[in-house]
Symmetry: C2
């Protein structure tokens, strides 16, 4: 198991693997600290689940024959740590690069895939890394930045949450257009995002731009 | 929302109600302390979710027209706090009565129901409380004490986990036999419990003893 973020939607599933299921939990030291700040995650007992630190830029064997390399991605710290962050630093930064939001490059059998479920903004370094990949799984949280506000389900924009949107001049479809990528697949899709609706104009637009929309149980063969 | 226990299966669902869903969270001071020891639960922001302490024995209005009274039930502390408990006290007690495992008596419209999803052993006081209830929802974790060991999915007995079994001389079917109870319904059923299998001998036995087996989406009208 490799965590790319310490926020609830990335870590709560660990609680369903509690007690007697052995596995190795890879994460940055910062994300491991987030877990340790919640005693509930102690259900992952030390003698069953090994917690291993991975440094940014490091490559390691995720499972046999599969190499993973983690790298920082613009984002923010976990929601439930925001108050502490604001108190300590005076402000909340939503597109900082650090150990709290990471991407993963996965290599096996001569193929290369990238998994980036959260990304606040595109950088040249990230674009370079994505170029030539056999598959890219990318942050598909929102279609447009004010989507949750418009839907009346929240007051936060995508930018505030540390997510770039799919559409628009600064969106991920535009940012990755023209890059040589085998398959581009949106993941981490919010329930307000209209691409979830089969046949919606937004879904059609995303598909035409070469993007697939991930779904439960999806399996990818490269 | 009323918590009767601080263990993962009782509290993890709170994480799905995060951010913007307003409600009041009732619990004993001890269970509230358990939540506060996990910063992940800070997603239930203070200005949206009010956390209210309820003392053992106290009655309060759960929702309009519905009165709840909480009382201690023999049980143990949350799994992930066991090590701390053992270190502090030298031993783990699995049938202590305190603020960590509670039952709830719910009264509305002249009807009375009891909800007791975890119970390590039957006491005379508890039996007296159950007598005459219109409905009892009771700890149905295991059919027999060594069921998880026999199934090869764990090393713990029901007793070790703070749960009395359904069957046997000391089981809950025997303990409540003969009491005047409108409906008796098992809840909190472990996935090793054969009563979950429709038509199993154990299900038939439980049904013949007057017990119903709860299922997802069940609605009760008294």
């Amino acid at each position: 198991m490799l965590l790319t973020n310490g926020d609830i939607d990335h870590v709560a599933g660990l609680l369903s693997l509690r007690e007697a299921q052995p596995f190795t939990l890879f994460a940055t030291p910062a994300i491991h600290r987030v877990l340790r700040a919640s005693s509930a995650f102690d259900v992952l007992a030390e003698d069953v689940v090994a917690r291993r630190d991975v440094e940014l830029g490091a490559s390691f064997e995720l499972v046999e024959g599969v190499t993973a390399t983690i790298f920082p991605v613009p984002g923010k710290i976990a929601l439930y740590l925001e108050k502490t962050e604001e108190a300590q630093t005076g402000a909340l930064v939503t597109d900082i690069e650090g150990e709290q939001t990471i991407g993963v490059e996965i290599e096996a059998g001569g193929r290369r895939a990238l998994y980036i479920p959260g990304c606040a903004t595109m950088t040249n370094a990230l674009r370079d890394r994505l170029a030539g990949a056999d598959a890219v799984f990318f942050d598909g949280t929102l279609w447009r930045d004010d989507e949750m506000v418009q839907a009346g389900v929240g007051t936060k924009t995508g930018k505030r949450m540390g997510h770039m949107s799919m559409s628009g001049d600064e969106g991920s479809m535009a940012a990755l257009a023209g890059l040589d990528i085998g398959r581009r697949i949106y993941v981490h899709i919010n329930n307000t995002n209209p691409v979830l609706i089969d046949g919606s104009p937004e879904r059609v637009t995303a598909n035409r731009a070469g993007w697939e929309i991930a779904e439960d149980g999806m399996e990818i063969v490269l």
